[in-house]
């Protein structure tokens, strides 16, 4: 056999092998998930991929707006799983974007009752999503530099004591809600009439603020000592640093904290709906919850109460596991406002930053 023919045969053989290989990869399947950065931790994803012989393709996004724009530009079947703020689930469900699931497919009785948020996830008797993690926008601080007793009263932050030593989480919805709580208002009843008083307080806050930060910049600012207080921070900020920097802490002041929650959903036109549901069930299982709650991006409280057995004492302490009953009782939900009021709130926030 001449060399050229031999080469051609080897090439053909390799080609067939490649075909079979790609065929087996296709048989194993894959799902595409739009997620926040905590879900991209390999320690969280790998066990699911190995157990189900599936590839989970992840795309990170920031903010509901970004997720919606990605979905709008995608073809049906492009995405299987979507992680989103709990408050945004009803609208997407009503628009037909999300798939519904039978009650028995989800561990409903294992979820903290306060974060089940039935009003968000159950529409016309069908479950469209489930809270996977929750936490608080409250006050995170460096206890070596700040008197922890001061942090128990939110109004300290718009006094003069910590002027120039604090950063503020840069997102108008939770922060206006938090300031409203500091002024004794209910976030659920927030209306346009409340904005002038909130504006006055925001302007005082701006005078004391060194910088406005996103998630990553918040961690950097507190960890590098650039600021001593992060208004709007919580376990999502200090938990991931709790082993290396035990001086960073967080607390719910007497006015309470704003509870955030993120929900796992699957899409109505998912290309691989069975695997998408399996992924959702993995996320909500105690094993998945423990890995997700302590991911390398940020920490948060797992929604499944049974996760306690999977967390160690240090992780529980950083998440305030034993204080959740009190914390949940002293927290309020994000303000849910219409588009018009949301625009006014965003304008107010931008006006404050430009001051």
């Amino acid at each position: 056999m001449d060399t050229r023919r031999l080469t051609a045969r080897i090439a053909a053989g390799l080609g067939v092998m490649c075909l079979f290989h790609s065929g087996s990869a296709l048989a194993a399947g894959s799902i595409n998930a739009l997620v926040w950065c905590d879900h991209t931790d390999a320690e969280f994803i790998r066990p699911f991929e190995e157990a189900n012989d599936v590839k989970v393709n992840l795309k990170e996004f920031e903010g509901t707006g970004a997720a919606l724009s990605i979905l709008e530009q995608s073809q049906p079947g492009d995405w299987d799983v979507l992680i989103i703020d709990g408050v945004d689930v009803p609208k997407l469900a009503k628009d037909g974007v999300l798939a519904s699931h039978p009650e028995e497919a989800l561990p409903i009785s294992d979820i903290w009752p306060e974060v089940l948020l039935e009003q968000n996830h159950k529409i016309d008797g069908k479950w469209y999503g489930m809270t996977e993690l929750f936490g608080y926008n409250t006050i995170a601080y460096n206890k070596d530099k700040v008197d922890p007793a001061d942090m128990l009263d939110m109004t300290t932050l718009w006094g003069d004591k910590y002027k120039g030593r604090m950063a503020v989480y840069d997102w108008h919805t939770p922060m206006i809600g938090l300031v409203a709580m500091g002024l004794g208002k209910k976030t659920a009843e927030l209306g346009e009439a409340d904005l002038p008083e909130i504006k006055e307080t925001l302007f005082k806050l701006k005078d004391n603020t060194a910088q406005f930060t996103d998630v990553v910049a918040s961690q950097t600012a507190l960890a590098t000592g650039e600021v001593d207080i992060l208004f709007g921070g919580g376990e999502w900020l200090t938990g991931v640093l709790s082993q290396e920097m035990p001086n960073l802490d967080w607390v719910l002041p007497k006015q309470g904290g704003l509870m955030w929650s993120q929900s796992v959903t699957t899409l109505a036109d998912a290309g691989n709906p069975e695997m998408a549901l399996k992924f959702m069930q993995y996320i909500l299982s105690p094993e998945g919850q423990a890995r997700l709650a302590t991911s390398s991006c940020y920490w948060a409280m797992p929604a499944n109460m049974k996760t306690g057995d999977k967390l160690n004492d240090q992780q529980k302490a950083a998440l305030r596991w034993d204080q959740q009953a009190d914390y949940l009782a002293n927290s309020q939900l994000y303000p849910v406002v219409d588009a018009e009021l949301d625009e006014k709130m965003e304008d107010l926030w931008t006006e404050m930053q430009q001051r």
């Binding site: 406005f212 996103d214 000592g225 650039e226």
Partner: protein, 285 residues
């Protein structure tokens, strides 16, 4: 005869056609789409073709949005002027004072920071300018200051970060222009009795103006469109227009409003081009 003329015309066009198609597909069509989008609105979570100028009038009705544009212009102008003042002497030293065999090395050293991602570079500057950064530590240790300076998370930090980047760009464009200048211009000026300063002011500087203006225009355009550096180094204590545009997309998926703000930003850039082009009479060259 007519056939030959047509053939000649086609020969001319066939060289231009690929570039023309590229420009139409990747600039003209998206631009037209953006203009159209800026006339629509996001209502009830959906983009609706409303065909009015509300997004533009909304901008002029909100002082904090106008301030974002003014911040963008002020920062970009400051960066352009400071970068020019630093880059010209640097380019001149490399072109005139550094031995020819070392000029390439000097240029590589000058543009070395280009090889790093500007996000990484911005975070690096943050560590330099932070309360516990190199600058404050040095000033505190030497007793020059007793309290750390608040340089990070300010406009100063944004300008420093930008200038570091754009000095390199301007150095390259000015250096290229200086190298093209025949040394006979300076010799002729000297023969006519002009001293070094007069030669520079009346001969060298005017002849290098095209390089300066091209670099200055590029600096202004790249600076006014950036939102990462102001976000990382400025600490969002004041917003520039690209940050506001990103907020419209990231928080509310309000593409129509973002498109209108982008068109306004493009109008400023176009104005900057017109100023540069008219001043240098670029259109005649």
């Amino acid at each position: 005869m007519n056939h030959t003329r047509l053939e000649t015309r086609w020969q001319r066009w066939r060289f231009v056609l690929p570039a023309l198609l590229w420009t139409v597909a990747f600039f003209v069509v998206p631009f037209v789409f953006m203009v159209v989008m800026s006339l629509w609105h996001r209502i009830g979570g959906k983009i609706v073709a409303t065909w009015n100028l509300d997004n533009y009038s909304n901008f002029f009705a909100k002082p904090h949005l106008i301030k974002a544009l003014l911040n963008s212009i002020e920062i970009s102008l400051s960066v352009t002027v400071i970068s020019l003042l630093l880059a010209y002497p640097l380019a001149w030293i490399i072109a005139e004072r550094v031995p020819v065999r070392w000029q390439r090395t000097a240029l590589i050293l000058a543009v070395l920071p280009f090889w790093t991602s500007y996000v990484v570079r911005s975070y690096a500057w943050l560590l330099v300018l932070a309360k516990q950064g190199i600058v404050n530590t040095f000033l505190l240790d030497t007793g020059i200051i007793v309290e750390p300076l608040a340089i990070a998370s300010s406009r100063y930090a944004t300008v420093i970060g930008f200038v570091h980047f754009f000095v390199m760009l301007l150095t390259l464009t000015i250096y290229a222009n200086l190298k093209q200048l025949s040394p006979n211009y300076a010799r002729a000026a000297a023969d006519l009795g002009a001293g070094p300063w007069r030669t520079f002011w009346h001969v060298i500087l005017p002849l290098t103006l095209p390089g300066i203006m091209v670099g200055a225009f590029l600096t202004f355009v790249l600076c006014i469109g950036d939102y990462i550096t102001p976000k990382i180094l400025g600490g969002s204590n004041e917003l520039v227009l690209p940050q506001v545009i990103m907020l419209q997309i990231g928080r509310r998926a309000d593409f129509p409003n973002a498109a209108a703000l982008s068109i306004l930003l493009m109008m400023v850039v176009t104005l900057a081009y017109v100023v540069c082009a008219r001043w240098l009479k670029m259109e005649r060259t």
